[in-house]
Symmetry: C3
Subunit: 340 residues, 3 copies
Amino acid sequence: MEFTVEQVAALLNGKVEGNGSATVNRLDKIQEGMPGGISFLSNEKYENFIYHTKASAVIVSKNFQPKKDIKTTLIRVEDAYTGFTQILEAYSQFTKSNKSGIETPSFFDQSSHIGEGHYLGAFSYVGKNCIIGNHCKIFPHVYIGDNVKIGDNCIIHPGVKIISDTIIGSYCEIHPNTVVGSDGFGFAPQTDGTYKAIPQVGNVIIEDFVSIGSNTTIDCATMGSTLIKKGVKIDNLVQIAHNVTIGENTVIASQAGVSGSTEIGKNCVIAGKAGIIGHLKIADYTTIGANTGISKSVEKPNQTLFGYMGMDLKGFLKAYAIFKNLPILQDRLRELEKKQ
Amino acid sequence: MEFTVEQVAALLNGKVEGNGSATVNRLDKIQEGMPGGISFLSNEKYENFIYHTKASAVIVSKNFQPKKDIKTTLIRVEDAYTGFTQILEAYSQFTKSNKSGIETPSFFDQSSHIGEGHYLGAFSYVGKNCIIGNHCKIFPHVYIGDNVKIGDNCIIHPGVKIISDTIIGSYCEIHPNTVVGSDGFGFAPQTDGTYKAIPQVGNVIIEDFVSIGSNTTIDCATMGSTLIKKGVKIDNLVQIAHNVTIGENTVIASQAGVSGSTEIGKNCVIAGKAGIIGHLKIADYTTIGANTGISKSVEKPNQTLFGYMGMDLKGFLKAYAIFKNLPILQDRLRELEKKQ
Amino acid sequence: MEFTVEQVAALLNGKVEGNGSATVNRLDKIQEGMPGGISFLSNEKYENFIYHTKASAVIVSKNFQPKKDIKTTLIRVEDAYTGFTQILEAYSQFTKSNKSGIETPSFFDQSSHIGEGHYLGAFSYVGKNCIIGNHCKIFPHVYIGDNVKIGDNCIIHPGVKIISDTIIGSYCEIHPNTVVGSDGFGFAPQTDGTYKAIPQVGNVIIEDFVSIGSNTTIDCATMGSTLIKKGVKIDNLVQIAHNVTIGENTVIASQAGVSGSTEIGKNCVIAGKAGIIGHLKIADYTTIGANTGISKSVEKPNQTLFGYMGMDLKGFLKAYAIFKNLPILQDRLRELEKKQ
């Protein structure tokens, strides 16, 4: 899609200085700006690029005072960063979320219901007794089992599998090939060394405004519900085991894992590859560093934990600094021993 | 589905005390019991909840002696936990495994064969020369390549990809979006710094009673077979590389990984995020802790290994306790040095 | 497929000694050779097996001098290993890449184009304005969004999801259920503790000769492109975050992860489960060991890094050797203290 600079300025309530009839069809970083692209200048560090950029237009804040000649066209707005974000969102909606209607073949059990403004991609599957709200986009190869409830304005990307009895709120987005609601890993050891599967009859409940990345797995509860609360953001390749609770607005980065029945508080930040064992409670506002292992509950909120067994960050860094120099420390000890 | 308490008691050969005509349609934890739910009391720790629970019925062992008034209905059985497990299984079979028949469109090459009592979900794909046994459930979006053999009573969940030449036994369950039999990661370095793929022409063999989680990957062998023996249980997001052997009844938790050609013995337990490098042998009955790295073969059975490089668990914990206090140890050393 | 030993010899420009009319339909390791199989002898260590193997034929180098009686048929070629590799490739092409034509139902938007010699599997999906080159194989359940470009001779395995605007070169192979181009994990914290998604409007560019494993995730850039350069090989369950660049011929093993905006040089080797945080630069020819964490840029090429926080390999191993014996070191310190 192509727009004129004037059209973009109108969307932003901005004022054009320069060639308003130039056309743009792309968003560029200011340091990589090329004809046909639109950039923004918000951080002073990048100011120098505006005097050389080949972008067709640059969004600037209304009080921006150029120190040299400007060759590109300016769009002056209240705040440049906010303005650019508005364009990002508009662009994103045009390009990524403009799907609607029903593609064929798709499979939609007649006992289920989907609201208005929907998109059902080809090869999508919706089982029995599902209730899906308004303005939901179900992309190709999505599987939705039986008795699933989904609120309004959700985007379920290609290949996502939502197993029976899952409940999802409104304004949720689940990225490709993620699995929600498959069986928890529960097996009872038998006396002959084999294991017997413990039936997993619970479900997953995902509240509003939750985002889940690609190829992530969220298991159903053995009984009751695995619970992902409002506003949680989960990245790619994350494991959430059965009966886990993730508190509101907690963020979990890629390849982290949370074992069974652990309860994580609200507004926590769990970095990439962190692992938390089962049956723990993690206090609100806890930060867990990358690749950190947590094997004990965290009772005091607002701590930052780090390291192989989840120490206080400062304590870990001090200990680790000495670990790196253990050969020297050992030499000093030897030296003392010799002197005895 | 709704049942009366009497019907549930009949299934369990139990005796009702209270209102047998109440209807139940859900399983609840006793501490969360609500009308319409059925719970159980097995562990004494939870006894107090039975006097307050709102569950419509609670399963108890035949010799349970209430210490206070009971308001809920009791179902007395030989053993409360076993009774509840029976219900779990019945419930699970009703809700999760009751699929049968062929949904359309699906793709089934005419050179392949599937036994009686099958379910073939919409958009499932079965290639050439496959032999699938009786009572198998192939869910939507499953891909089965050419020359695949699957035994009886298997459940292949939505989106699983089973690549050509894979052999799977009976009573296996593979959860959504797992990949079995894709190419091993084998590349021969060339003199110009590039890599050339080594054709991976082997397959994967999975024996009976194996369970595999969601979004897991099991690569085919370069030649010969990657082998998952009888009774193995594998969790979500696990990596099993080419030519690996996993011994009978070994359990592998989420996000663990086993590199190429490693042989793991029987009845091992490999915890979450553990990593085992290639070409090792791990003895029977080995326990490998969470996030543990194993870089040497384990010859003696029955050990528990832990830590970044897989030490004996007790040894690791002792060393780690001192690691945490390295700054203090260094101070003590300094103190001694000053006195010289 | 069955071939005679003569046919195989003809393919290899080799000379048959023994029964050229025997038929073979399988490749075996020499130590596991059975009738109907063809093996090779390259490494002297395995010579003894050739005198007992039941394989129908064994490929040997032209100057191989048997020390005992040979019962199997020999195919003499210039170099046995090279010869066997040729067969592997031919076999692999016959069995894994012999698909062609269009299976139904599939979904192919009429605004898109695919070149000659293609395979479009059942339930594959190609969106709007895509350009796919010659001799590409698109397996079942593949999703290709809008405006995707793919070069020649690519194999896209079952269940792969390629999101809109992705650009892929020639001779690339992407294994099952991998996701390319889904949204990066970018959220702006709000003053009320919630997060707001930052639109991810960039794409992924994959150059020629790239191989990507199963269930891997490669996120699109926030703006601009996530870039996987020529000859890169990526294993299963790997995470590549938004705006990452991976240099030519770099190899990344299973379950490794690279965080946002990091640039990795060329010809690096990143072992399994390694993690690299965001906004770093990793020099060319860097080797990063298994499970290693990297939290600082690597400026000098050709280093090998290892350990929880990515130390020089030798330094780590020395420090770790002392870590294991910290209880002894502490005892020695106590001993000295007593003597004061």
